[in-house]
Symmetry: C2
Subunit: 137 residues, 2 copies
């Protein structure tokens, strides 16, 4: 089978540059950030508006792909768990899911709240939040 190749559609611009001090989840003090889209995909943003809650998918390019178990949240007092039962960035396909709120849209630059992704992280998709999650809010 041909390889499945992800094409970045943009990059994260964020004050977060240090993996060691970045928050683990967006609701743990992550800052606002910019999603800077490739102008070629701008048409795909039509209908996305300030105030919308979306899920940003990223490629966690500083993650390890050979890690299958971790101590949850890096806490070595907790037993190791398989990465599929955790939000660890380290996993065979390091795709990040980030629920964020759109603050503003300026051409190909989209301001979002509470994004824990590091500066320069490739963006691979944007989706509306899943219906099951909306009903939980």
């Amino acid at each position: 089978m041909a390889p499945l190749e992800v094409e970045p559609i943009g990059r994260v611009e964020s004050p977060l540059t240090d993996p060691a001090s970045a928050p683990m989840q967006g609701d743990e003090g992550a800052p606002d950030a910019w999603l800077v889209f490739d102008p070629a995909v701008l048409e795909a943003l039509r209908g996305v508006r300030p105030g919308d809650e979306v899920i940003v998918l990223t490629w966690l390019d500083r993650a390890r792909r050979d890690v299958l178990s971790v101590h949850p949240r890096g806490d070595t007092s907790r037993p190791q768990q398989g990465v599929f039962s955790t939000r660890s960035q380290h996993r065979p396909n390091p795709i990040g899911l980030h629920p964020v709120e759109i603050v503003s849209i300026e051409g190909s630059r989209v301001r979002v709240r509470n994004l824990e992704a590091l500066d320069g992280t490739p963006i691979v998709d944007v989706k509306p939040v899943l219906s099951r999650e909306i009903s939980e809010r």
Copy 2:
């Protein structure tokens, strides 16, 4: 930059084989299905249990990647919208997010409820649902 390559970690086994008649979302009458994992990643499933709600990430290998706008739900009476504000399978990086419940686990075969992905679809990741309570596990 090197290409970002997704490695399938398994495949969906489902009675759904016809894209035209498959439900658009898992909560619209999708059947139970099996996630059949590559034995090499079994360790990553440790901690996933029957009853868990997880998000399965797939690579929608029958989607088109050159589509940036669609009529929502294929309804041509509705105005076109950018794919990032819809759940269309057609998008630059055709990654599917499927919230499902784990029914049972038999070795590398995991039975799940309400999965709208077609038979043979590559699986690329499994994550806990995004709700706050569960991400704090």
